[in-house]
Amino acid sequence: MRTQFCDAMVKRAGSADMVFLTGDLGFMALEPLQAVLGERFINAGVSEQNMISVAAALARQNFEAWAYSIAPFCYARPFEQIRNDVTFHKLPVKLVGNGGGYGYGVMGPTHHAIEDYGVLLTLPEILVIVPAFDEDVAAAVERAGASSSPTYLRLGRGEKPEGYQPPAYAPWRWLTKGAGMSVIAVGPLAGTYLAAFEALPEAERPNLWAVAELPLERNPLPPELVGQIKDGPGVCVVEEHVKQGGFASSLALHLSMRGVHPRAFRHLHALDHQYDRYGAQPYMREKSGLDVRGMLAAIS
């Protein structure tokens, strides 16, 4: 999604009072943005803590401040700067984490971002945006840019089937329809299952939902989905995020507090960081049972 991100940022730079900070990343991707922004494209160097605090100070002066890095370097290393300097002051800094989930799978565990939104959503008023498809990125950038609260944009890799045209970006999208379980996928995983779900007979086919914005308090469940959860065969949440603090936990709490009890509740999630072998994103997903086979087994 980096190319789409850069394109969208170049477009937005023309109208926004933007400053873009990068933690020395973006080679062969962000050069067009640098050309447009000039001195407002700032390579903050390998100093993510400083980068986030600088972004907070710029946002306080009403700059549209963006801070970009490989995902874990942008939320894990500078967590206290996000907490104290950004969220305590409700500053609308836009954090952009590239390679969300296992996007940098084979690069090793330091580069895996599998607890990002769970951690960040513990902080006040953060909006998390997880686009599912490359086509979503332009709208996601506009959403983040216009957000009046701290925002984390998790960029991944769009995975739609060949020839598939996703519906226009929306915080919730209903992608496949059938009489099976309701599957809620956070971000790009939604595209991973599309072809397999479409190939299922209607009676078994899940209702696949892509959720792109968190938390639920800011992106309520669509009524159709609530109806499916109440009356259907069950719900399965799939996310490239560890179990603790993931979307499934917040959904379960949300439903429980409202007296909604699905017939079945399943959760496919990233395993923790303790791997003995590494591979690309599909490999890491398979290890966690997030691949198509794992999904089909979970909903059968």
């Binding site: 100093s47 400083n50 605090s53 100070a57 306080r60 206290e80 700067q81 104290n84 300097d85 002051h89």
Partner: protein, 240 residues
């Protein structure tokens, strides 16, 4: 304030107080920003704000009590002159650098002052900020270092020595000056000099300055005053 609230941290407030008062009363314009990176000297900051009419007597009396705006470290909201909640060390210089950068990008005539502690330079993020600020030639940024030479469990030399700190700072493209942090004319002198680079002023100070039984003693990082100590301290300050 500290006596009435029965709280400590007074030693580091007294070391920072002279410079803070001078900056607020003589140099800080409405368009300028002061960031207290050593948030545990919030008392000095509140007193400085009181001295320029930005906080009231009643505000000060509420210090560190329930339902106060004046927490033990600067709050995130409610006092427009305090731009950021500080208290976790190693944040202020980055916030100041970002503030100065913003003014520089817009070509604004605004100055940014940041007061750090000396032990705070043990935080890696403070060096990140210095590298950034020096690289971006933030000429209108002035960093004041309250070099009282005492930290939580000992002298800065004994805990994690960088002595002399100013020699390390001089390795960067910044103007470093070392002065007596309790000498008003020396503070004014350095703040009035023409700037061509970011400035770091190392204020050689004394923890608990002005009170004989506190001066240079580590325990006044923590201890509240007894009534007798309070009376003695007041008498010494009034006599001095």
């Amino acid at each position: 304030m500290h006596f009435e609230s029965r709280v400590g941290h007074i030693g580091g407030n007294l070391s920072a107080l002279d410079a803070t008062l001078i900056v607020f009363n003589e140099y800080l314009r409405p368009c300028d920003t002061f960031i207290l990176s050593k948030g545990h000297s919030a008392g000095a900051l509140y007193v400085a704000l009181w001295s320029v009419g930005r906080l009231s007597d009643e505000d000060l009396k509420s210090f560190h009590k329930d339902d106060t705006l004046l927490a033990g470290h600067p709050p995130a909201h409610g006092i427009p002159d305090i731009p950021f909640a500080t208290g976790s060390l190693g944040h202020g210089l980055s916030l100041a650098a970002g503030t100065a950068l913003g003014h520089q990008l817009r070509g604004e005539d605004s100055r940014t002052y940041c007061l750090t502690s000396d032990a705070e330079w043990q935080e890696g993020s403070t060096w990140e900020a210095l590298i950034f600020a020096a690289h971006h030639k933030l000429t209108d940024l002035t960093v004041l270092v309250d070099h009282n030479n005492l930290q939580g469990l000992g002298t800065t030399e004994a805990v994690a020595s960088m002595s002399p700190l100013w020699e390390k700072l001089r390795g960067f493209d910044v103007d470093v000056q070392v002065i007596d942090g309790h000498d008003a004319s020396a503070i004014r002198g350095v703040l009035e000099q023409q700037r061509d680079r970011m400035r770091v002023v190392v204020l050689r100070t004394t923890k608990g300055h002005g009170v004989s039984f506190m001066q240079g003693r580590m325990e006044w990082h923590y201890l509240p005053l007894t009534p007798e100590q309070f009376r003695t301290a007041l008498a010494e300050i009034e006599a001095g």
